[in-house]
Subunit: 349 residues, 2 copies
DNA sequence: CAAGATAATTGGAACGTTCCAATTCTGTCA
DNA sequence: TGACAGAATTGGAACGTTCCAATTATCTTG
């Protein structure tokens, strides 16, 4: 069954033209006569020809492979799944396909997949680096002129473009909102303290407290895995404090959902008895009950923008590193018990 | 910067051997002398050589590209994200890389991505078909001898392997469990009625009701989008019935979460006032509050098995279609208000 | 109608690898 | 020392495409 491959030569033969002509019609060159083009296209369809990009790519060493790589540190986190979807959208419609790999936070794995991608000749890479990634890991990539766009996390010292959300401003706005609602003891829950993202958000938290003339209490900062389970654990710990917090900003939405779960386990009603704000605005944030107040970063849009940036660099040939921080905005829903409304809740249904 | 590519010939030259020898060491052939091998490897490292799989692949037309494709119909659904992670695991460790594409249920998109993948010479394809996929869409793929494994959904008439979960048995067990707890009016919520999966699950639901000598009322079957929002909508409708149900089996976990949300919006406590069972056992199912009773299909494991099946076929050269139905099991947690326990809930923390 | 311009087509060389058959090298033994 | 076996190495052809320079066919136009 595994038929002989149909090549451009077979078509040329069947259509009574030369392989060069066939090649020309394949790349939709204006040089070829309409009637020949039609004839060739007919034969192509008839014989079930499939273009061999590998061979083509071999010849035109300059132009690249029409493959872009995307590697993320945790695909099971829906933030990254949505990011990947966003990337896929623009990349596909530009005629590229994406290699998607998941590193599960392992830099070894990351090294493997990146080198594997290089062997396949990716034209560019979108990378959400695993924890512990160093500039050296990206060195050879940039040395060979392959554009790289880092998303979500920066890599210190790496000469590559990056697209991160404005973590500082986002968290600052969240805290200000809570303070505006009258909360004095606001916790910061979840996240690993050894990451840049964590520290940026934490700094936003601290700065906002200072701005509002509130004291910062270190015991109100409780770190944990940036996951739903981590959120449960964090709120557990926070509720053990002698002086309980009355509100919390969370490292991300997953943590925030966990926090809501943990509150319910203690017969506390998130949104009523305790205010919760997340970060990311994943898709479930709006349909959850209570709908989650969160800092919207629009993961899918971020994926799209990252892809656009990458494509721009690929086309430009030259990749000068540019660092974009994407602005964010606080989306107020029910979980922070603001004056907002049952109105919104109802209109949802 | 975009340096000249380092080729096998450059290495040969620098190491003072022939390109053939270099090729031999690249494929770890036992034919080459240890000292030469070492020398060559050193040069490879020094010059920063990167293997060109495209060229290699061109030569050895028989052996394939070390790329496998995976296309799913909805990557934002964490079921599929986890599936992809499972596939990635085994595929990576077998030295392959995966092309991942998302079709968002569009068969047009699906056609595009599959043809693009073919051009890149994938060795095999794992496909969760978009709704409306027909056997004809896979025809040319199997004609050219590329192994295909369908997951989650079958495609009627297609001569390809498939790996689906035991939808009938899973739903039957869920309903029996609820009936065993004394429920008489059990709803079936969510899902699109024009899919095979829906009908299998629905049949399981009906058969179980008959088994337990309960009447089947068509008004208790309310379909909706298989998403969280769809779940909210479905329970809304179900609660409008004159004779309300007291329990529900849901098309999948996303729907089940939506149902819980919808119940809360009506001041009903899922697990206490109303029993809910999901399907899939996505990762959040165990950490949610209440923890979701659900039919476990282990998406990640399913991805792994699908990948193994595919690799087997790739290696065998011959792909005889085999249809595997993967068994499932009911995982009882809190959301069905079984006699189970606060115990489990507590031990979780 | 010659000649130049334009349009359409074409044959080879090249891309970076693998494979085959052929060659060189080393050592052994009569 | 000559012959031979085995180990190690090697040059060239091939894979399916693109590109370049060159060729042929078709028009214009003076």
């Amino acid at each position: 069954m595994g038929k002989e491959r149909v090549t451009v030569i077979d078509i040329a033969h069947a259509a009574g033209v030369s392989k060069s002509t066939v090649s020309l019609v394949l790349q939709a060159s204006p040089l070829v006569n309409e009637v020949t083009r039609a004839k060739v296209n007919a034969v192509i369809r008839d014989l079930g020809y499939v273009y061999n990009r590998g061979a083509a790519n071999l010849r035109q060493s300059n132009s690249k492979s029409k493959i872009i790589g995307i590697v993320v540190n945790d695909l099971t986190n829906s933030f990254f799944a949505e990011l990947a979807v966003g990337v896929d959208m623009v990349v596909q419609s530009a005629g590229y396909v994406q290699f998607l790999a998941n590193t599960a936070e392992s830099v070894d794995r990351q090294r493997e997949v990146i080198s594997s991608m290089r062997e396949h000749g990716i034209s560019g890479l979108i990378l959400s680096p695993a924890r512990g990634t160093e500039a050296a890991d990206l060195k050879s990539l940039v040395a060979s002129g392959i554009p790289v766009v880092n998303v979500v996390r920066q890599v210190a010292g790496a000469k590559v473009s990056s697209l991160v959300s404005d973590n500082h401003a986002g968290m600052r706005d969240a805290v200000r909102h809570l303070a505006g609602l009258g909360h004095h003891r606001i916790a910061f829950l979840g996240g690993f303290p050894d990451t840049a993202v964590f520290n940026e958000r934490l700094q936003g938290y601290r700065d906002a407290l200072s701005d509002m003339d509130l004291a910062v209490h270190d015991e109100l900062v409780v770190s944990s895995a940036p996951s739903r389970a981590g959120g449960v654990a964090a709120i557990e710990r926070a509720l053990l404090l002698r002086e309980r917090p009355t509100a919390a900003v969370c490292f991300n939405d997953a943590v925030a959902f966990g926090v809501c779960d943990g509150l319910r386990a203690h017969r506390l009603d998130p949104g009523e008895d305790f205010a919760v704000i997340g970060f990311d605005d994943v898709i479930e944030a709006q349909t959850a009950v209570p709908a989650l107040t969160t800092v919207s970063v629009d993961p899918q849009g971020m994926g799209r923008r990252a892809a656009q940036l990458l494509l721009k660099q690929i086309n430009a040939g030259r990749a000068d590193a540019e660092a974009i921080v994407s602005s964010v905005r606080l989306v107020v829903r029910q979980s922070c018990g603001s004056a907002s409304d049952k109105r919104e809740r109802l209109s949802l249904l």
